[in-house]
């Protein structure tokens, strides 16, 4: 049984700006700022991207994440994917996780389509055997035919998008993390892509989708939360979507998380 359990999750980004990233500055700061007192990097600004988020999802849940830019949607997805470790709280995910955060991750412009399928598959955690079993299907779906033996740089950007999409959506998973609905390719491809993405969503036990499109969340999800400046609302039933969304958009709320100096 797939499940997601998030408790009191806080994630902060220390901002290593252009001036704090140089070791010379680091040392002058220590020297100028009075030795040990500042050594912990007290002047380092911190963005609190998520604050005290708790969330519990079980099989069959489809959660929509709603919120403005900088509200913490992608950060939450990445935290679920295990990219960021919590600064406070815990994240427990049972089941194989697949994230469609950046479909192009690990693609090599100079490698051929087939090599890219293998690379991408490995990064997604597939075994050679699993990749071999999927190659034909991916190749067929991408519709790229003999182009697959050529390096990616020979592709149009639309073709690259098709390949990336075909590979990224070929995985089987229990927990699917999506940052916006993917839309690639020309008119013909788009319809196929939608169908494929839908079937991936249907196969997954749990789906978490971050989106700016309320209609999409309404059709795909059964629950949603609103993120605002790193804070999460309670989990709403998707039927309340219209009310809440108009409230959010109309409301003054929605502050960007402001950088603060760590104490």
């Amino acid at each position: 049984m797939a499940s997601i359990d998030v408790r009191g999750l806080t994630i902060q980004f220390p901002v290593y700006g252009a001036d704090t990233r140089s070791i010379k500055r680091h040392f002058t700061r220590i020297a100028v700022g009075g030795m040990l007192g500042r050594r912990k990097g007290s002047s380092l600004p911190v963005v609190v991207a998520l604050q005290n988020i708790s969330l519990s999802l079980k099989s069959g849940d489809r959660l929509g994440l709603i919120g403005f830019n900088g509200a913490g949607k992608t950060t939450l997805l990445r935290a679920l994917a295990g990219v960021y470790t919590p600064d406070e709280g815990t994240v427990t995910v049972t089941g194989r996780i697949a994230s469609l955060l950046d479909v192009g991750v690990g693609m090599d412009m100079f490698a051929t389509g087939y090599e890219n399928i293998r690379l991408r598959g490995l990064i997604a955690g597939l075994s050679d055997k699993q990749i071999k079993a999927k190659v034909d299907e991916i190749a067929a779906f991408s519709g790229l035919g003999s182009y697959l033996a050529m390096p990616l740089k020979a592709y149009s950007s639309g073709m690259q998008g098709r390949l990336a999409f075909a590979v990224a959506t070929s995985i089987e998973c229990d927990v699917l993390l999506m940052d916006e609905w993917l839309s690639v390719g020309d008119v013909n491809f788009r319809a196929q892509a939608q169908a494929r993405l839908m079937s991936l969503v249907n196969q997954s036990s749990i789906v978490v989708l971050a989106s700016h499109d309320p209609t999409l969340v309404k059709t795909l999800c059964n629950k949603f939360i609103v993120l605002d400046g790193g804070h999460a609302s309670e989990v709403y039933d998707v039927e309340l979507m219209d009310d809440v969304y108009s409230g959010v958009v109309g409301g003054v709320g929605s502050l960007l998380p402001q950088p603060v100096a760590a104490e």
Binding site: Y16, G82, V83, D87, T92, V93, G95, F110, L119
Partner: protein
């Protein structure tokens, strides 16, 4: 179907962090396929569109050894029979050790897009750098075989000592690569510093010259240079001489102490590496 559960918690006591770091190392070794393929792909990427592929490394190294060898043997008043094997082994072994450290600077920066999208264990990217350079070394080893054949000491090569020596050297530069990899990700001006340091070390280490020509004072200086010991345990057996035990002991101690320190450092900062990127 096997259930996989991933559990991530906030920073705990240092003991907990050490445990987490150990787990990350263990996972990186379990997922060896990923870094092996990434390393292979790095090599392929470098030589795509080239006719003889990675053997360019062999060819350029060969030309370098021949060119420098002919001139420097004159400068050092050594016979080419003595000097060229010394030079060829020196340059190629130095290349292996130095480039793991130099490319180690980019360990995490180079793999940033993967690190920012997946939960692959961080040491995987260090192993990627090490593996890539071992593959390059194997290509260059062709030059060493040719030199050994030409000067007639091929059968005297003490292969097992050499393998042990290379392994010891690589284990040592690997922890150095991890440390500089983290520091260079945090402080983006460090790669230049490391680059200059390695350049200076190149001249302080008997790569182009014979350590036997060193005066006692210079020999004392050499004995505190870790790269001198790395060369000693690898070049001597490759040239058919039995290596000194001293250098092995130095390297073993350095590997243990170095890895403990590097691991302790990694355990402290591993959570932040993704934020440095």
């Amino acid at each position: 179907m096997t259930e996989t559960t991933t559990h991530l918690a906030a920073r705990g006591s240092y003991a907990v962090e050490v445990q987490g770091a150990a787990k990350e190392f263990a996972n990186s070794l379990r997922g060896a396929r990923i870094w092996r393929v990434l390393a292979m792909n790095d090599i392929l990427a470098r030589y795509r569109g080239s006719l003889i592929g990675p053997f360019w490394i062999t060819l350029t190294q060969g030309a370098f050894v021949l060119g420098i060898g002919l001139l420097y043997s004159q400068l050092f008043k050594m016979s080419t029979k003595d000097y060229i094997p010394l030079l060829a082994n020196g340059v190629i072994l130095w290349g292996l050790f130095a480039s793991i450290i130099l490319e180690g600077c980019e360990t995490f920066i180079y793999s940033a897009s993967i690190i920012k999208q997946t939960s692959l264990p961080l040491p995987s990217f260090l192993w990627r750098v090490v593996t890539r350079n071992l593959i390059i070394f194997l290509h260059q080893a062709v030059v060493l075989v040719i030199v050994a054949l030409w000067f007639g000491y091929l059968l005297k090569i003490q292969l097992w000592w050499a393998v042990i020596g290379i392994a010891l050297g690589v284990v040592n530069v690997a922890w150095m690569g991890l440390v500089v990899g983290i520091i260079c990700t945090r402080f983006r001006d460090m790669p230049q510093v490391i680059g200059s340091a390695m350049q200076m070390l190149f001249f302080l280490t008997p790569v182009l010259w014979d350590p036997k020509q060193a005066s006692p004072k210079a020999a004392a200086l050499l004995s505190v240079n870790p790269f001198y010991h790395m060369l000693a345990v690898t070049r001597d057996p490759l040239m058919g001489r039995t290596p000194h035990l001293n250098s092995f002991i130095v390297l073993i101690v350095m590997a243990v102490v170095g890895w403990l320190a590097a691991f302790a450092f990694f355990a402290g900062v591993r959570r932040r590496v993704v934020h440095y990127l």
